[in-house]
Amino acid sequence: MIVWLVGITVLHGWMNLHLFAHETGGKGQYRFRIGFLPVTCHLTCPVTDFINKQQTGTSMFDPVRFNGWPELKEAYLSGYTPATFILAPMAIALREQGVRIKIVYLGHRDGSALMVRKDSGIHRIEDLRGKTIAVPGRYANQRLIIYRELTARGMSLDDVNIVEMPPPDMPTALYSRAVDAVTSGEPFMGQTELDGYGRCLYQAKDVWPGFISCVLAVSEDMIRDHRPQVQELVNGIAASGKWLDESMDHRMDAAKFVSTLYYNQNPRLLSYVLSKPPDRVKYTNLKPQRANFEEIEMLGKAAGMLKGTAHFDDYVDTSFAPDDDKVVAQTYEPKRQ
């Protein structure tokens, strides 16, 4: 038994933890973990990590990929990931509950959709009455879009049946008719289109221009103790966003290396959602703006998601975010065949 335990531990350390590999650079510097999910809303995280490693051989942070919002949130609360990409309403709700969290930058704009089956009779928002819609979680901004669109048509959340579901399970749920509609960030909505059974009822960009789903948040302790690193992180994320929006070639490059090295998805899927249409999701104009968050606060309170006790200055620190016109794109140009 002891021989087995020692043997399996050595094998695990060698094969999975890379304990015997040589570290390259970055020794003695403050390194931190940053939580993200394999969605386009968090794309700038792996892009920044990849470009840093290509250019300097190391990265200032270790990206930690999660598969669901609860685990990502709990890892932040435990201090394991002092920085994380997170749903904006979830960050606000955490702040309301006394968690020392500050939003320092946005993850993206737009990049969400509501999908129905091609053969369904749902062609307008009004047709959603009595239907079951899957959303990524209680604090998902996609829930707020539904609320916003329903109330604009004299309906309420009580007119639909909302269920919570991890985004990776949504395409299958729609395909098997377990739900009537699904809404989340990409690429899971695009997947239903690509596989031929999904139809877009609305893109976030068309019903709520400049829509924000996810943000980059850090702990207040990190801001206090490691301010230069927070600034470096925000600069890196901003530069990666600019790089992604600079050309379609960059987006296709990102689709390849992110799919393969970070998301474990078919590169065709990311290529699709990053290009069809090109403004499906955007990575510029990511400085947090008061008006955007006040709207989220107001809708969140009206929809029963937020208490309304935390406000922009409580949960946002804009001191790190550069103005969009001052952001310089990453200078990385991969070799293309």
Binding site: L5, T9, N16, P70, P168, D169, P171, T172, N264
Partner: protein, 283 residues
């Protein structure tokens, strides 16, 4: 009960088992061809049924057996399968080993000392039905998302069955052993080590078999935490990868096959003399 009687009874049980096996072999040639063919036949029928049902349903999401086989080959070619198997075995081994180290002595003590059982049993029965999935948030808060968190979840899943089976083993032990041992003037420690533990070993092994099954069962849940390796991770990760349900089923299949292997190994423990001693005494 002396050693000679024990050996005689064990030999008699062995002979009876051999006679039973021989009866089941037609012609008595020594190789039970039917016994070998039956599980393979059922397996082949299962695969055929699976393949046909996918073809007839027209689903292009659920994979056919050949797709799963291709998925496994892909994992092997990318060097991932061995890595993931090692990672899962590492977590299950440590979780299960820790549970054994804690559960067996604790269970024996609770079985022997009635007051200890009265004190701890309600708490054990409260914790025992709580699914390891419910512990995931707590595990992350306590251990972050390092290997310690899944090991902790696997420990929790297996420690209670081990404790309870060890406790029950002491309670159902024949008192004559203890009285005989006490007549020989054994100290309490010697009594525990040489008599109680050995007499209870068959039931403890049965408890360990059940617990190992549960430990392996929860590996998927345990690896839902943001670890980046393991067969459970493979399943969760494949869900992110779009239509890669071939890899989901490949992960399920590997978990099943390794579970079968682990159970086979634990059953081998029953052949040790120390364990056969206990079985003989139960006969």
């Amino acid at each position: 009960m002396n050693a000679t009687t024990t050996e005689t009874m064990a030999e008699e049980r062995g002979r009876e088992a051999a006679r039973g096996a021989a009866r089941s072999v037609k012609g008595g040639k020594g190789v039970d061809w039917l016994g070998l063919a039956l599980p393979w036949g059922v397996g082949a029928l299962f695969l055929l049924g699976w393949d046909l049902s996918v073809r007839f349903s027209g689903s292009d999401l659920f994979p056919k057996p050949i797709d799963v086989a291709r998925g496994i080959v892909e994992l092997i070619r990318h060097g991932l399968l061995l890595k993931y198997v090692v990672a899962s075995l590492f977590r299950v081994s440590w979780g299960f080993a820790l549970a054994t180290m804690v559960g067996v002595p604790f269970g024996l003590l609770l079985g022997w000392y009635g007051r200890a059982s009265q004190a701890f049993n309600p708490l054990i029965q409260i914790f025992r039905p709580i699914s390891p999935i419910a512990w995931i948030p707590v595990a992350i808060l306590w251990f972050g998302v390092s290997d310690a968190a899944p090991v902790f979840l696997i420990f929790l899943a297996s420690v209670f069955p081990i404790t309870v089976s060890s406790m029950a083993a002491v309670r159902t032990m024949q008192p004559v052993y203890v009285r005989a041992a006490q007549n020989f003037g054994l100290s309490e420690w010697e009594l525990f080590r040489q008599v109680i533990f050995r007499a209870c070993l068959p039931q403890i092994i049965t408890g360990l078999r059940i617990a190992l099954g549960i430990a392996w069962l929860v590996v998927v849940a345990a690896e839902m935490i943001a670890v980046n390796s393991g067969l459970g991770y493979l399943i969760i990760d494949a869900r992110n990868a779009g239509k890669r349900y071939d890899l989901v089923v490949a992960g399920m299949l590997m978990i099943g096959l390794i579970g079968l292997g682990l159970d086979f190994l634990v059953r081998k423990l029953e052949n040790f003399d120390e364990v056969r001693w206990g079985y003989a005494n139960k006969a």
